[in-house]
Structures are given as structure tokens and as C-alpha cells.
């Protein structure tokens, strides 16, 4: 079947790396072409967040900041529960190409599965709702 772990795209942009860097790493840039609203603390370990007008929002963690060549962040895998610790890593690489920029984006980590997380998911979920419902029942009984 081939579990896809890595996605890669390269685009040629007719703008210098500095302009591309600004679009990728500032709230004004990210909140315009990517999300509809963004905040970013541009330093390794810094938090960033994008929101879309249809209501979806995603939290990111800045990982690499090497102006104007490499910008990397991790974010949650779309569709998984919010408390799921799994994240994919996105890295933008900017290379000068004539007067413009060759931009490469690589996203990796879709196929990650640390054993302990899997086991926790397996063991935890069996309890999950059952124990929450049991707690609710106990709460209601006590009332």
C-alpha cells in the first residue's frame, strides 16, 4: 500500500527570498495567503496559530528560523483528536534562483507511530468514554 510519509513540492517564485521569507514567517503574510488570520512568535520553540474564516484553526510550533533560507514548524495531523500528540514537520527552504526564489516545502511524519503512543491509544480508549460515563453516573447519583 505504501504509507505516504513525505510530501514535497517545489515552486519557482518571481520574487527575491526576502519577500518570500516575509510572506512565510510573519502574521501579516501567513494570515493573508495561508490562513485568514495568524499570530507567530518567530523563534525556535515559539508558538504560532492560524485561523480560517470557516472556523478551523491550527496551532504550530516554530522549529527552525534561518533567515532567509529555512523556516520549519510542526503542527497537528489534520483529522486527529486535539489531544493527540502526533505532529508533522513542515520545512520551507528558500534558494535564490535568478531574480526570484526556488521554494521547496517538505512535510514529513505522516507515518510516524511511536509504540508507546499506540499502546496508550489502545489501552486508553477502552477506558476513555466508559470511565467518563461512569464518572457522570457517579456524579448524578451523588446529586
Amino acid at each position: 500500500m505504501g504509507f505516504p510519509d513525505r510530501i514535497e513540492r517545489t515552486v519557482e517564485l518571481a520574487h527575491p527570498p526576502g519577500a518570500v521569507w516575509t510572506a512565510l514567517t510573519t502574521a501579516a503574510g501567513l494570515g493573508t495567503w495561508f490562513g485568514n488570520e495568524a499570530v507567530i512568535d518567530l523563534r525556535p520553540g515559539g508558538a504560532a496559530r492560524m485561523r480560517w474564516s470557516h472556523g478551523y484553526a491550527v496551532d504550530m510550533r516554530v522549529e527552525r528560523v534561518e533567515e532567509p533560507a529555512v523556516f520549519g514548524f510542526t503542527w497537528q495531523i489534520y483529522g486527529l483528536p486535539e489531544d493527540d500528540p502526533r505532529r508533522t514537520y513542515v520545512e520551507f527552504t528558500l534558494e535564490p534562483a535568478g531574480a526570484g526564489t526556488r521554494l521547496t516545502v517538505v512535510e514529513t511524519g505522516f507515518a510516524q507511530l511511536p509504540e508507546d503512543i499506540y499502546r496508550k491509544a489502545f489501552d486508553g480508549n477502552t477506558q476513555g468514554w466508559a470511565s467518563e460515563l461512569a464518572e457522570l453516573a457517579a456524579y448524578l447519583d451523588a446529586a
Binding site: F3, P4, G29, T32, W33, W52, H54, Y78, G79, E115
Partner: protein
């Protein structure tokens, strides 16, 4: 694969995803999983009452689903075995789907447009467009 095998090695996630998709490819198994997801744990008899298939047919599919780790048998009332949906394999399959659903071409096209638009007047481009969303 089973939750009780503590000494098991890391599961082959591709095999896990494949079992989920194989399970979902069959309409009866889809109906069983959907019934467990929406109604919670149920016995083979409960499921046979709700679905247009014999109890024997249900039992056969439940055995296959249990073998794949997608449902987990547990003791129920009156010594009947109840089956509970196991979400971990579904989340593995979701990872697979997330990779397929990831659309970088949309956002990268929007980035190109954004740079072209903002190249002349260097700052603001007020009308925000809902292009290229996450996922």
C-alpha cells in the same frame, strides 16, 4: 496488535491501516462499525436485531474485526460478550488519509498570487481570501 500483548514490538502501521481499509470495504462490516460507533458496545444479538444480517453472519464479521483489533470483546450483561469499537486503528488510518488529503498546491498557488499582488504596493492587500486551508 492486541492491547494485552505488552511485549509486542511496534505495530506495522501500514498493516494496521490496511486492516482498517479492508474492514471498511465491506458494507456489512461498515454497518457493524457504524452501529458500534453511534450506539456504543453491543452484543452480536443486539447487532443482528438492528442490521439486516443473521446473527451467524454478524458473529463471523465480529470475529474478523476483533482479529484485526478494530473491535474488542468484553464481558457484558448475562454472560454475553459485548463488542466495543477500538479507535486506535482508525486514528492510524486517519493519518494515512491526512497525507492523501494534504493539499500543498492550493496554498502554494495562493502564496504566488499573494507575492504578485503585494509586489507593487509593498504593504497591505486588504481583501483577505479564503484560499488554501489546512487539511
Amino acid at each position: 496488535m492486541p492491547p494485552d500483548s505488552q511485549a509486542a514490538t511496534a505495530p506495522d502501521i501500514e498493516a494496521v491501516a490496511e486492516q482498517v481499509f479492508t474492514a471498511l470495504a465491506d458494507p456489512t462490516r461498515r454497518a457493524i462499525l457504524a452501529a458500534l460507533a453511534s450506539g456504543g458496545p453491543a452484543t452480536a444479538t443486539d447487532l443482528a436485531a438492528r442490521l439486516p444480517i443473521t446473527r451467524q453472519g454478524i458473529a463471523k464479521h465480529l470475529a474478523l474485526l476483533a482479529g484485526a483489533g478494530l473491535v474488542c470483546p468484553e464481558p457484558g450483561e448475562r454472560r454475553r460478550v459485548r463488542y466495543r469499537l477500538q479507535s486506535a486503528p482508525m486514528q492510524v488510518a486517519q493519518q494515512f488519509l491526512a497525507a492523501l488529503a494534504r493539499d500543498w498546491d492550493g496554498p502554494l498557488g495562493a502564496l504566488k498570487d499573494h507575492l504578485d499582488r503585494s509586489a507593487r504596493p509593498p504593504a497591505t492587500t486588504p481583501p483577505r481570501r479564503a484560499r488554501g486551508h489546512h487539511g
